[in-house]
Symmetry: D3
Subunit: 132 residues, 6 copies
């Protein structure tokens, strides 16, 4: 259960409906996932968040869309956000992530968590060589 | 300061020295960074960790080396590991990360942290569509 | 499921029962939520934790009760504690949190998570101006 | 040290300079803190982040500016972001946070971290009463 | 639901089956828990992870097996990993953890989370006396 | 630098001084570390926190003092609390932690972080066998 109600299409205010419509048009799909339906509890945050997602994840750039999704999975996993892990793993697969790529992603994020922990436990001082 | 002493080459036991030598040979550089010098306090963990790093980060595979480094940065940043952020940002640059790629990495990890937080605050239920 | 059994009123030892009674008297409600029923597995921690909650959340002071609950939500969300997000969002609503206030809370905690992430990624040095 | 160079006024591109100018105008102060100077490494993220900060922290609304800053401190502390803790504690004091308010903020965020940890350790099931 | 399918014994490749068999032989039990069945999606990570678990948790050493499990619970709780909290609390009980020991574990991890939070909020400088 | 001033003995109010005196008497040492000197900014939180530390860490019980310190290190490391890692590693050494024990502690906390991350990435469902 969420801490705020899911907003259906029928319940959506015009401001919320405009965001839902843009999600549909941008993705070329009728599906609006629960994140946006709950976030609609605060239309201003809904709109700002969607605009940011569209700008950051959708615009052409130096990183391909699948790499961006895998970075999203890495952060969401580290934060322990169950919803986000599910939605972005699904998105990465929809963008072509293979089982081999997913396996290597798992290996890297597991290793990083382990060495992060060791570096924190040991309070390793930053090498001069890493200075900008 | 670290919570354990940094082990210099002169202080290294043969077991530790063998790992240091393999780090140098693998990287083609004489530089052994502080992480390994402090971790040398526990030779078994040193060896297991280095073997894992070599296997996960160095082997040819489905993800290119720069993508792996960027995933490492994403996890290290989310865990707030200062040492790891420094060392892996330096490593990513050494592997060719451009300013444009770094900028997009920052944008994605910032966005992911934000939507992770929103999904946690709202306790959004996972959509059936995301089921495997 | 919890990792320890929920303690019902009938199962409560006198020491546990005294805490449950104080929870009821303090809140003016017969409802004792699951957190206390599971925590009753360790009566000493139950008692110390409840005393602390009563002292920190209930005493008159410089912050009003709703502000305290919203701070609690902010921490619980960042820690990804599902139970705590649910219970303190319910508590904040019971103390009068409006939809507008909740919306702004969401916007602030989402923004904070994002800029925290950016500051960690960039390892921004603290300005002299922020020194006490 | 940061993982990207601090951008001085002299080095700022017109796009970056426009954001710096808006920060100064909005705050009525000539001071541009390091966060923005390092973030300037990626002008797009700089601009989007500043627009979001201005919208979320500066607009009139249902939460007063000091409450917003205290929520920011709560999140930043939980994320262990040293820079953010420093900058937002300074900001809260500039907005009038008293020692008594700060003391209560500390007490609440410390308590929340403790009960979050207990609820996670015990995996307490969410009460039906907390359902929306 | 998991983000990858659970691999049954019948579905297991020879490489995966060999790990499952070693888990069974090492533990003296026919039970292979879900963690390994999902991780089998990536046989390389499955094998490396199991080898590490066997080496770190199973070998005789300076810490007894129960202490290691309790440390595992402490980390898993702090990371908010529900699966890990469940599996390692069960493992600790199987290794003899008493209710009294569990109660004290809860008290310590709750206290640590609280003082961690306070130290982060206050950005307490490290005392010279703690230097190695 | 801290976000609040360090309180010297000369500056301590009678309420703060009483806590400092009890720290000294309890530990049999004249040294009062910075955590308490900064926390003295809020005498109520100082007193409640010290009472809790004394009760949880100092009382005889089912876990020996060194095990409690190692659990404290595990939580502090996972939270990335630099001050806490330093102070509790020093405390564990003062209570007799050997290099071998410290090495195994590092190995366990590193492994736990890694498998926590994998379990979160894969969203592994809890086995029925782990139910209480």
């Amino acid at each position: 259960m969420a801490t705020a109600p899911l907003v259906s299409d029928a319940q959506a205010s015009p401001e919320v409906r405009a965001v839902f419509d843009d999600i549909r048009a941008t993705r070329g799909s009728d599906f609006v996932n629960n994140f946006w339906r709950v976030l609609a509890a605060d239309p201003g945050t809904l709109k700002r968040t969607w605009e940011e997602v569209k700008a950051v994840m959708g615009a052409p750039g130096a990183l391909d869309p699948l790499t961006r999704e895998m970075l999203y999975i890495a952060v969401s996993t580290t934060n322990g956000c169950s919803y986000c892990v599910h939605s972005h793993t699904a998105a990465a697969r929809a963008k072509g992530m293979t089982n081999a790529q997913y396996g290597e992603l798992l290996a890297v994020v597991g290793l990083a968590a382990r060495t992060n922990q060791l570096a924190q436990a040991l309070q390793v001082p930053v090498d001069d060589a890493f200075e900008v």
